[in-house]
């Protein structure tokens, strides 16, 4: 056993996010009761709340710090069956809410592509879903929550009460303090079913046209093939859906049974296998149009039925990239990104494209903005993946877009600070005892004057 391996064994256990990159040592402390924070007996120097750890990269990691594990704060506090207002502790997962609320005729106001996230995490990352164009972000549907600071101050936050803390905490990446409980405004449903309509398209123009035509659909998103070239370049399937208006039995769903028990060798996921998968996925829908009545589970959470699907990428993990580009020449930016991917030789397995609407988020640091958003993932392959991500970040900068911290492991401080110029104001709200590896990375060079930096090599490289 080499000396470095021995050292690793002795240090604190390492934690990884859903992307499995990076792996960082930390101490995990479960929180069992809301009243037990902040801990009275042992002051903690540096901490970060973490729920299900389903964000990617290092936004939910803290090297050599204390991770406050919140999934044990999982109690419901109250529910009004007439208005659909749910109050629960912050560690309750969206899956638990669905299990509870669907049989009563209520549904999440906004949901991401997995239901295995906590309410606290959904607020901290101000998550978005397929209905962003009509419903905005998750934070818009959280009328009230409690924030507890490391000095013991308890703040009840709403758009009128402690509104500055409310704005800083929604999308605040868990840095403003611990969210102990929250209210979530659910939306009514009469059926588990989604009226689904899939349309094949080729090209970003065609995608935008379909998005334009689907403005009245509650949910819309598209899968895009990042591998196909030539006449198939940027082909995909545009998916729209609405809750079925036909009443039917609202039985609860079952927990997933399939799990990917082992890491697959990462060579399995290469350009050719992804090409084959994409070709198959594209052909799965035979005609140009497909209409069907589907259950909400596969519509919203196609991957949740396989626990630990991230093991598909092997133990090296995956890198996620999600950007939003404003509509002005955003289309050109998307094309440049797609071309950068094909020329890199890397393949993205689960590429998703969607149009964000203009419903504003109450969060100061919220990611979604009007424009086109593209989410991609790549296996971690030494220099290749990092080089590509760097290129994609530059294209995002040039098209005045921004990247999503919850899906990032690579953004530089300069990039982050140009994407989120409000970060300086936000920094005042960061709890002095709270931090994350992401935050240390992107706020580290806070002293650098951005205007001056633009002329240095740092952003000069962006002109590729």
């Amino acid at each position: 056993m080499s000396a470095s391996k021995l050292r690793q064994k002795k240090s604190a256990p390492a934690f990884e996010s859903w992307g499995r990159y990076p792996r960082l040592p930390a101490t995990l402390v479960p929180l069992y009761w809301m009243e037990e924070f902040p801990p009275a007996d042992r002051p903690v120097a540096s901490m970060l709340p973490v729920g299900m750890g389903r964000s990617y990269g290092d936004v939910c990691l803290l090297e050599n710090g204390t991770l406050l594990h919140t999934t044990t704060l999982d109690r419901f506090i109250g529910f009004d069956p007439k208005t659909g207002l749910l109050r629960c502790e912050a560690g309750v997962t969206l899956a638990e809410i669905l299990k509870f609320a669907v049989p009563l005729g209520w549904f999440l106001p906004v949901t991401p592509g997995t239901k295995f996230v906590t309410v606290g995490g959904a607020i901290a990352n101000d998550i978005h879903g397929k209905n962003h164009h009509v419903a905005g972000t998750f934070g818009r549907h959280v009328p009230r929550f409690e924030l507890v600071r490391s000095d013991g101050m308890r703040l009840e936050c709403s758009p009128i009460q402690n509104s500055d803390w409310y704005a800083a905490t929604i999308g605040g990446m868990g840095l403003t303090g611990l969210i102990t409980w929250a209210e979530v405004q659910l939306r009514p449903i009469v059926s588990r079913k989604i009226v689904y309509h899939g349309t094949k398209f080729v090209g970003v123009d065609a995608f935008l046209e379909l998005s334009q035509g689907a403005k009245n659909a509650e949910y819309s998103v598209a899968w895009i093939d990042c591998v196909a070239q030539g006449k198939n370049f940027a082909r995909g399937i545009f998916m729209r859906g609405d809750h079925s208006p036909e009443p039917s039995i609202l039985k609860p769903s079952r927990d997933p049974r399939l799990t990917l028990p082992v890491d697959l060798p990462s060579v399995l996921l290469n350009k050719y296998t992804v090409e084959a998968f994409n070709a198959l996925y594209y052909r799965k829908q035979l005609g140009r149009e497909k209409r069907a009545l589907v259950d909400y589970e596969p519509f919203f959470y196609p991957l949740d039925s396989i626990l630990h699907w991230n093991r598909l990428y092997g133990k090296d993990g995956l890198l996620q990239f999600q950007c939003v580009l404003p509509f002005e020449d955003g289309q050109q930016g998307i094309l440049r990104i797609l071309k950068a991917i094909t020329s890199s030789g890397l393949a993205s397995f689960l590429a998703v494209i969607k149009v964000f609407g203009d419903v504003p988020s109450p969060g100061m640091m919220s990611f979604p903005a009007p424009g086109i958003t593209l989410a991609l993932d790549f296996p971690v392959r030494r220099d290749v993946s990092f080089d590509l991500l760097e290129r994609l970040a530059y294209i995002t900068v040039e098209h005045h877009g921004k990247m999503y911290p919850a899906k990032d492991a690579c953004m530089t401080a300069l990039q982050f600070q140009s994407f989120y110029p409000q970060w300086r104001e936000f920094a005042h709200y960061v709890d002095p005892a709270f931090s994350s590896s992401f935050w240390q990375r992107v706020s580290g060079v806070g002293a650098i004057n951005l205007a001056a930096a633009t002329s240095t090599a740092g952003l000069g490289n962006a002109l590729v």
Binding site: P13, V29, P30, Y32, W33, M34, E35, T72, R75, F76, I77, G78, F79, C88, F100
Partner: protein, 252 residues
Amino acid sequence: MYKPYKRPTGILVLGATSSIAMAFSRLLARPDTHFFLVARNPRKLNSVASDLLTRGAASVVVHAMDLDETPLHPAMLSEAAASLGNIDLALIAHGVLGIQEEAQAHYEAASAILTTNFLSPVSLVTWLANYFEGTRQGTLAVISSVAGDRGRKSNYLYGASKGGLNIFLNGVRNRIDRAGVQVLTIRPGFVATPMTAHLPQGPLFATPTAVAHGILRAMQTRRDIAYVPGFWAAIMFVIRAIPEAIFKNLDL
């Protein structure tokens, strides 16, 4: 005497704020279930009560007390029986791990572990066994531990309290099973709860929810003794089979 499983609707939970008890109570929260919850901390009790009510329980009554105070047990239990109308299920879930080093150095520390884990359940079961024998129905479920199967140097006071509890429950079962009462000894292994939060969590650790499902299955199948998760039955079979002459020299 065999009686088919009937879903309990009048439920008494002693040590209701323990992780296993909370997870188990949730599984039973339905529009026809009534709970009587007992634990020390009134704020935590209220959190558990709102959770069960939100999840659909018909009613929840909370009673804050320290279950070490055995003289107060009969009054509390009478109140529970009156409040629930009929107790169908009593779950005894409170307990402490204690600190072995202190317990082997001072009798007071050893005695405190025995009081919470053994004497307090004995007092509760004495009343409850008579109650169930009188109503000729019900389930008396008690959370013991795999640690009660054999004494080990790392936690033998905890182990002794649970081992004593196991033998006590054998006897109670022998007495009231014929009245149609299920006496269920639950022997969990490592469970991720505040009791074990200081230990490094290995692959043998189960979640309180998994343990709760195990308890419910054991009730439904009218088991007497249930190791949860089930693989602990095999592990403890091996542990018990090791001759003492060898066992005494092992570091387990």
